[in-house]
């Protein structure tokens, strides 16, 4: 394994094993235990697009494990504005770091970077393509809530056309035999080629515009933001914006253990009143980005997470 570009880079066994590592690293992520497994290692954070959670959680993950981070910083103040190619930027950062986390507005940029680099690349989002590290923290959150991944009923809702989180997640959930419902406005349906791939891989997929009607037997409802920045046409955005506004009324007839997830940031697709319900998991989900990325950093750098973390770690 070199980097993590798409979920196809991991087998189901590897996914579960990395989630087990993440589980054991929880006290380290919470700052209750100091375990410098990555001391002396440097992560290069290359975010060519805005990011809050992904960039910060990578940085936190690396620092909690005793490693260090160098940042590309604001693209506007880097050589990118002078016309430097991605290939050249990667060649340079490859020499400075041991591993690279990258987000880029163009699809395929992560694979392109991996081909140019000798160090592992962690894809933190490439256009509307893939976001596998988000998928790992999503899977961690689902397993944490339900104790398993296989056979769950999952509703993915909102911007399924441009949403890279749901593209990666739907592929992974299919591999664990989950039943998928895609709820979106017609303009933002899951791309045909992805639905076709999922069905070829044995997925049971239902497509609907009726989010609320599809929630009653769901184990997971995964909301996403309608991403204004992905629309070339303002009118199209206006027709889709505010399509779904989940509030407490919609939770009356759902399963007791159903969880609501969201990769964040949200706009108005989940009302703040839902935050205090037993179903809301999106803030824990955001925190889980730290443990999932800690486990991934260790795995890609060839560092074993000890079976008994508390015996190896020290108190801060």
């Amino acid at each position: 394994m070199t980097g993590l570009i798409t979920m196809d880079d991991l087998t189901n066994e590897e996914i579960l094993s990395i989630l087990d590592d993440a589980e054991r690293l929880l006290p380290v992520a919470r700052g209750e235990l100091y375990l410098p497994l990555l001391r002396g290692r440097i992560l290069g954070n290359l975010f060519f697009e805005p990011s809050t959670r992904t960039r910060m959680s990578f940085e936190t993950a690396m620092k909690r494990l005793g490693g260090d981070v160098v940042n590309l910083g604001d693209v506007k103040t880097s050589s990118v504005v002078k016309g430097e190619t991605l290939f050249d930027t990667i060649q340079m950062v490859d020499g400075y770091t041991d591993i690279i986390a990258m987000r880029h507005p163009r699809q395929g940029a992560a694979q392109y970077a991996q081909d140019a680099a000798s160090v592992p690349i962690l894809n933190g989002g490439d256009g509307a393509g893939h976001h596998p590290t988000q998928t790992m923290l999503d899977l961690f959150t689902i397993r944490q809530a339900h104790g398993r991944l296989d056979g769950l009923k999952v509703v993915l809702a909102g911007d399924l056309r441009y949403g890279r989180t749901v593209h990666s997640l739907s592929h992974a959930l299919t591999r664990f035999g989950c039943e998928l419902t895609f709820a979106s406005p017609d303009l933002l349906r899951m791309p045909v080629e992805i639905v076709s791939d999922l069905r070829e891989n044995g997925a049971t997929v239902t497509e609907t515009e009726d989010l609320y009607g599809s929630m009653s037997d769901a184990d997971v409802v995964y909301m996403t933001r309608i991403q204004k920045e992905r629309f070339a046409d303002e009118d199209e955005y206006a027709r889709c914006a505010g399509a779904y506004k989940l509030d407490s009324r919609h939770l009356d007839n759902v399963k007791g253990d159903m969880i609501i997830m969201h990769p964040l940031p949200r706009v108005d697709e989940i009302h703040p009143a839902v935050d205090s319900s037993r179903h809301a998991r999106y803030f824990e989900q955001a925190f889980n980005g730290v443990v999932a990325r800690m486990a991934l950093l260790c795995r890609l750098l060839g560092v074993t997470v000890p079976a008994d973390v508390s015996a190896e770690g020290g108190v801060l």
Partner: protein
């Protein structure tokens, strides 16, 4: 009708390339893929839908005064992977060239997805498309994963 009779439907060429065993009805697509269609100064002869022991029926193309390059053979492999290519010099077969559609084609076809990293012409890495299905033919961009069928591949040949 024998193979020789099929070949003799058009006259023998002195110098150039003969592409035989092209799947029936695909000759025009082959020419388009090779960039020979339309405005070309070299004489081109086509025989279409003639009987073939191997294929049932086939097309044959003769291009005079032009020998196919490796890049053209790579493009041909997408449209007619079973074709036979002979280079003719002074009326005799001087070389038989093999074509091969491997697992990946490099700098043969471009990915035209508008947001693919390879649409930035300044990026130096090659265009790479993986063969995901041979019948029907489907390739995917190695970088962004966008699929292309044969019609798209012909339009997007480099």
């Amino acid at each position: 009708m024998s193979n020789e009779q099929s070949m003799r439907r058009v006259t023998a060429i002195r110098n150039g390339t003969v592409i035989d065993h092209v799947p029936s009805g695909q000759a025009l697509r082959v020419l388009e893929m090779l960039g020979i269609a339309g405005e070309t100064s070299v004489p081109v002869s086509l025989v279409m839908n003639v009987p073939s022991k191997k294929l049932g029926s086939k097309d044959i193309i003769k291009v005079e005064d032009r020998e196919l390059t490796q890049g053209e053979l790579d493009r041909l492999a997408l449209v007619a992977p079973e074709a036979h290519v002979a280079i003719i010099r002074a009326y005799v077969v001087a070389e038989k060239l093999s074509i091969n559609l491997g697992e990946e084609v490099v700098n043969v076809v471009r990915c035209t997805f508008s947001n693919c990293i390879t649409t930035n012409a300044r990026e130096p890495q090659p265009h790479r498309l993986r063969v995901v299905s041979r019948d029907p033919l489907h390739l995917r961009c190695h970088y962004c994963g966008r699929p292309q069928d044969l019609d798209e591949l012909v339009k997007n040949a480099l």
